[in-house]
């Protein structure tokens, strides 16, 4: 156990159950599917006139998706106040965050799902394409992270 979970398991399990409770709460109250990556397309519909972003699936969901995202920000802030561990900044280099973020945004939108959309909502919907998407991104992420260490990245 110690070998696989050097930092313990309790906070991982508790956090995961709370995340599941959040996605479940959204579904039971509103019927909405709480993946996170769509907000990055739907928010563009406020400023971009491109027909792609003006589709009903974005313009019709952009308000609740922003409310959901605002909740995420507040949840992080609430945890900061509750944990007393203090704010903490990542040491991952800016170019990794920028390029990695770009690929994350592009790939998640092309795939129509990310770690929450395919990983949580898709798997919980028993969707085979989502399972394949999860196995695919786990594989490419593990290979990429290993390559980055070998190339001396953070």
């Amino acid at each position: 156990m110690e070998q696989f979970f050097p930092n313990g398991v309790a906070h991982y399990l508790a956090g995961g159950l709370i995340i599941g409770a959040a996605v479940s709460l959204l579904f039971v109250t509103t019927g909405l599917i709480g993946g996170m990556s769509t907000v990055f397309s739907s928010t563009w519909s406020y400023v971009s006139k491109l027909p792609f972003f003006q589709q009903e699936r974005f313009t019709g969901s952009r308000v609740w998706r922003l409310a959901y995202a605002a909740g995420l920000l507040l949840g992080g802030l609430a945890w900061l106040g509750w944990s007393a561990s203090g704010a903490w900044q990542t040491g991952v280099s800016w170019w990794q965050l920028a390029l990695g973020g770009f690929l994350v945004g592009f790939g998640a939108r092309l795939s129509n799902g990310c770690t929450s959309g395919h990983g949580i909502c898709g798997l919980a919907s028993l969707q085979l394409p989502s399972l394949l998407a999860v196995l695919t991104f786990l594989a490419t992420a593990i290979v990429t992270a290993q390559l980055v260490i070998r190339l001396g990245g953070a």
Partner: protein
């Protein structure tokens, strides 16, 4: 959009953000330690979240005619095609490079992890390029 929908989206978001923070998934270093196979905690987070959500997604539509404050049950749109798999492959490369994905990028910013603004800018840019050149 009904006020109740927005209120529940906000409340669920707060819970989601708190869970992501508690599980330390808002720290890219912790995600990268999983991808480097030195700490498998991420699988517990994902497994716990899927288990609870699985119960809700499978049971709620059988027990309730409609959502408590909504009109119909949604469904995650997922297609078996090259875009789903190719996009996931690209997503994974980015995730492996920076250790950040959409939810933790937003929640982590709320917890004061300012460098995540760079990742968020990247995600927004990537989503725009996808919609502009590969959208349909």
């Amino acid at each position: 959009m009904k006020p109740a929908t927005l209120a529940w989206a906000l409340i669920a978001g707060v819970l989601f953000g708190f869970g992501l923070s508690l599980s330390t998934m808002i720290r890219p270093e912790v995600v990268l330690s999983f991808l480097r196979l030195t700490d498998f905690g991420l699988l517990l987070v994902l497994g716990g979240a899927v288990l609870v959500t699985l119960l809700a997604y499978q049971l709620a539509p059988r027990l309730l005619a409609r959502p408590l404050f909504g009109s119909s049950w949604g469904r995650h749109p997922s297609a078996m095609d090259a875009r789903t798999i190719g996009g996931a492959a690209i997503f994974g490369m980015g995730w492996g490079l920076c250790g950040v994905c959409p939810g933790p990028a937003i929640a982590g910013l709320g917890a004061g992890n300012w460098p995540l603004l760079v990742a968020l800018a990247g995600i927004f840019a990537g989503a725009w390029v996808q919609g502009r050149f590969f959208g349909r």
